[in-house]
């Protein structure tokens, strides 16, 4: 198999100020092994793009607790009071994005689109600073594409070619983020010989590296 990556090589890809998309929904499908290594690297000033803020001791919340995060872009941070407190104290910047809009913005980037027109967020705070565009007499917000330097993909079963499928609800944002980043790293739950071509969710050209070693069953 190609493109295997160990702990040291992964840490060498990290740098201060980078943006990371992290898969998972309330940490279901979040690659905790990769988070371990980002904590170990202690890179700073990260922008984290994730569905939610996780928990203080789980998921992307651990990067926040370790003071590595400058900005969080998420749909929900209610499960992680640390982020709320740091936000009130201006120690962290938080951009809240409706969940469906977050998914579309990431997908748009991965698909080479500049953005999408959504009715979600019209007449709310979400509208601030955005273009309003009318199509067939209906108003929409222009939501711009969102990419990142690196995607950390979890919840996956990889095959020897680098194709991925996902365990049950661990799919969530993972396959979308895998299309939208310069470098895509997957921490699979396990590696099998070959995934049936009809069952592949993330085809191998989207995946740059597969982490192996103690972080894989």
């Amino acid at each position: 198999m190609r493109n295997l990556l160990n702990k040291e090589k992964f840490i060498a890809l990290l740098h201060d100020g980078m943006s990371l998309m992290v898969g998972g929904f309330l940490t279901n499908g979040t690659p905790e092994g990769l988070i371990d290594l980002v904590v170990e690297s202690n890179v700073k000033n990260l922008t984290i793009i994730c569905n939610d803020g996780g928990y203080p001791d789980k998921g992307v919340g651990r990067l926040v607790a370790n003071n590595q995060v400058k900005k969080v872009i998420a749909s929900h941070i209610g499960t992680n009071p640390v982020i709320g407190t740091m936000m009130q104290e201006n120690k962290i910047e938080v951009e809240l994005v409706p969940q469906g809009t977050l998914a579309e913005r990431i997908r748009a980037y991965g698909a080479g689109l500049g953005g999408v027109l959504t009715p979600t967020g019209l007449d709310t705070l979400v509208q601030e600073g955005k273009q309003i565009i009318e199509v067939k007499g209906k108003k929409y917000l222009l939501e711009e594409a969102l990419g990142a330097d690196m995607a950390l993909i979890g919840g996956a079963i990889a095959d020897n070619y680098g194709n991925l499928k996902y365990n049950k609800t661990m799919r969530n944002f993972n396959p979308i983020m895998a299309t939208a980043c310069e470098v895509v790293v997957c921490e699979p739950k396990r590696i099998i010989d070959e995934i049936d071509p009809e069952h592949v969710i993330t085809p191998h050209p989207f995946v740059d590296y597969i982490l192996v070693g103690e972080y894989c069953d």
Binding site: F25, L26, N51, Q99, Y166
Partner: protein, 213 residues
């Protein structure tokens, strides 16, 4: 029945055979306990399940949109977040049931932020109320006596003009073009009790006792 049970069981009567339904966290989740046996209703969890089943105690790889261990029913499907919100935003959800901090007589609601105090975020709620065919708010009628059903929301909105129905432990109300109609009142309360507990103007003619009680 507790207040929560009253609200949940009344809302369950709104579900039609064949409906695809998304239930929010809290009281809305309880609606699933009251679906009539003769109705085939499919529940969606926006994290990626069509055909959500009940909660499970054991460790599982399946969670619901609240992050709790859950199950999938026969004939269900696991989907990614994009497909999930294709269902939600694209009008494929027949009914969504959500809580709210405030709702107003124009059908606007506030549920995701109390500036300076609490900023949990909107999660999927903004998409749900914008995209679902029917939006039902499930909540206590007041916040310890302070009205939550207002002439105009004071908190930042989740969406404007999207709510179709409000069900509380006291009453069932429907948002129509001309305003908020009081349709049903729980037998423990009078119409005047409801008016007292509501800041919004209520339009009503014949008011029925709350169904399913």
């Amino acid at each position: 029945m507790t207040d929560k049970e009253i609200i949940a069981s009344r809302i369950a009567l709104e579900l039609e055979d064949g409906d695809l339904v998304n239930l929010g966290i809290g009281i809305p989740t309880l609606v699933a306990n009251y679906v009539p046996e003769d109705k085939r209703v499919t529940f969606q969890a926006e994290n990626g399940i069509i055909g959500l089943g009940g909660l499970v105690e054991e460790e599982t790889e399946i969670v619901n949109a609240g992050g709790m261990g859950a199950s999938i029913l026969e004939g269900g499907a696991f989907i990614d977040s994009i497909t999930s919100f294709t269902f939600i935003r694209g009008g494929h959800i027949d009914i969504t049931v959500l809580g709210a901090l405030e709702v107003d007589q124009e059908g606007s609601l506030a549920s995701w932020i109390i500036p300076g105090k609490m900023v949990p975020g909107m999660g999927g709620a903004m998409d749900l109320v914008t995209g679902a065919k029917k939006v039902i708010i499930a909540m206590r009628h007041t916040n310890k006596g302070i009205p939550k059903i207002l002439k105009k929301c004071t908190l930042p909105l989740t969406a404007s003009h999207q709510v179709n129905m409000i069900v509380t432990e006291m009453a069932v109300m429907e948002v129509r073009k001309d305003g908020l109609h009081l349709l049903e009142v729980h037998p423990d309360y009078t119409i005047n009790d409801v008016i007292q507990a509501t800041e919004a103007e209520l339009i009503f003619g014949e008011v029925l006792p709350m169904k399913g009680i």
